[in-house]
Amino acid sequence: MAQEKINMPQLGESVTEGTISSWLVAPGDKVNKYDPIAEVMTDKVNAEVPSSFTGTIKELVADEGQTIEVGELMCYIDTEESQSGAANEETSEKADYEASEEVKSETDRSMKKRYSPAVLRMAQENDIDLSQIEGSGRQGRITRKDIEKIIKSNNLPQESTTSSEVTVNQSKTEPSKMKSEQNQSVSSSAGDIEIPVTGVRKVIAQNMVRSKQEIPHAWMTVEVDVTDLVTYRNKVKNDFKQKEGFSLTFFAFFVKAVAQALKEYPQLNSTWAEDKIIQRKDINLSIAVAKDQELFVPVIKHADEKSIKGIARDIYELAMKARSNKLTSSDMQGGTFTVNNTGSFGSIHSMGVINHPQAAILQVESIVKRPVIVNDMFAARDMVNLSLSLDHRILDGLVCGQFLARVKEILENMNSSTSLY
């Protein structure tokens, strides 16, 4: 059997590096020549990189999310010069990791301490002591698969710690255990469609899991009467569109109100940093934009300094960019609080997952005409629910209640005297 390298291809003239957005194979997988092995992103194109050989993937050297130069090693593959060799290799990989302890002195272990970013991250997240693990990779390198195997087997070599810390560690590893148990129980049956989780979907999934695992969420909802705002906006929207070239959406008014209220309640515009809470000076509002199977969260920078028109323009431009895949990473960086336009899907109540590492997210639900009692009489009013999810480490009910009350007040006082400019 021969071991071959697969290197980062040059995807396009003038392209010098590529980022592995996801691996489509894992060590041990059999691939045919030209089967796709990884999704790679470059400045010019995003493409699936095919295998140059038929064989068994031996080791993934580069990690997902890692950017490597053209010509640099992506992975090793054992080519099929000897079929029996490949089979042997597989059985040895299946042996549990204690067994490999015995052979460790026989071979070169010089790569053992060269951890890849993914391995480091997984080890940290699961509190695994890497020095106690035997790597199955080249020259003893610890691979992603090694860590996964350990997590699965629930045999976690942890750092020797004091008893008080142990409890914390255990509680932290719990979600991972649950995750792996779930994974094992899921299988597809005839007629089901299996959709591989790759690219953007994978990133979304990772972010959501991280947020839900790390942040203790709490929720709160207020009801806002936006009848005057609706009347006003409907009156001016056609003129506005004609004059400015883009639509004046309700969402722009909500974003404006949130920005204003955040200025008064900066506690909600902050980040948890373990031993401290960082209150952000800038009010940069993330907004969620869905496109096909993808979800983008571009940012309206300095929303508190912008007029309603300015915000409407930002929303329009960011949405256009998202739809044409033109969002740059700078468009999506620096958000300090998220406003989510769930009303556009018809939702009237929802509980958002906080956009990690922000402190809260506000769901703006559908505006619905409902009978409401005003001055002891029934009236048909335009009502909207605002649902806030908060990081309970940073925020409590009191300040959030005050914040929501302020947003409500601002919105209920928006009417024909409110300046768009």
């Binding site: 697969i6 290197n7 980062m8 291809p9 040059q10 995807l11 396009g12 003239e13 030209y34 010019k44 194109v45 995003n46 493409a47 699936e48 990189v49 095919p50 295998s51 140059s52 053209v70 010509g71 096909d292 044409s324 895949n325 033109k326």
Partner: protein, 330 residues
Amino acid sequence: MSKERHEALGLSDDQVLEMFKTMLLARKLDERMWLLNRAGKIPFVISCQGQEAAQVGASFALDRDKDYVAPYYRDMGVVLAFGMTATELMLSGFAKAEDPNSGGRQMPGHFGQKKNRILTGSSPVTTQVPHAVGVALAAKMEKKDFVSFVTLGEGSSNQGDFHEGLNFAGVHKLPVITMVENNKYAISVPIEKQIASKNVSDRAQGYGMPGITVDGNDPLAVYEAVKDARERAINGEGPTLIEAVSYRLTAHSSDDDDRQYRESDEVEEAKQKDSIITFAAYLKEVGILTEEVEKELNQEIGSIVNEATDYAENAPYADPEDALKYVYEE
């Protein structure tokens, strides 16, 4: 579609099957080149995908032992029909010394092979139009009964050389057939931002020649149009402009990401009309492409593509000092 269609055009069952085979070979070579590019083995790909029907349909209507062609960079179907082999195309993809197009000096897609009367092409677009007119002028001067056939994209039909060339051919009634392969995009710019007239073929009127728009996904329709045009040319009735409308199924090139400027729905919709599928359906309907034949065909093409790839990959590069050769006659 009925069986009479290809028979009415004077095409035998074997001929239409050969057409399909050429189309499929072009498609499979092209697909392989993308894989090779993504695997980092060849530097560049520029595709024929979506235009094979027009290319092959037109080529089969020409006299492939006499006529001259000035193809543009997507015309893998044309050059295959005119005798370039899969191995030769792969040698060009890998930029190897044996590449008959340029000995590895040009990007893939820059075709040229004198023995098959394929004029050499370059990267600046549309320069080939006056060249084809020049060959047609020679045919007229030498009183020879061949025609020249030149292709270009619809974007290129905005270049001066298109208009200068066509006008020259129209004035002197030269035996040249110009086929614009309208794939709706000039890299990222859609047809409506390229051309003010409704059809590219409308432009023919200004140059005193017939202008015809045909379905570029239908090889038989293109065959018919080119066959008529060739007859006119040989009879001294002058040039013809044909616009074959299809769709570019891939990004502009291996360096382009088309998701930046067109919706995937649009591409999916175009794939429904992909000639590789629709022509196969016709051939099945008329009983030419049986399951057995199809299986054989796929196997044969698969092994042609594999052999071509292996040969080209293992072939030697030109010596570095060869880069200095042939600036002038030696």
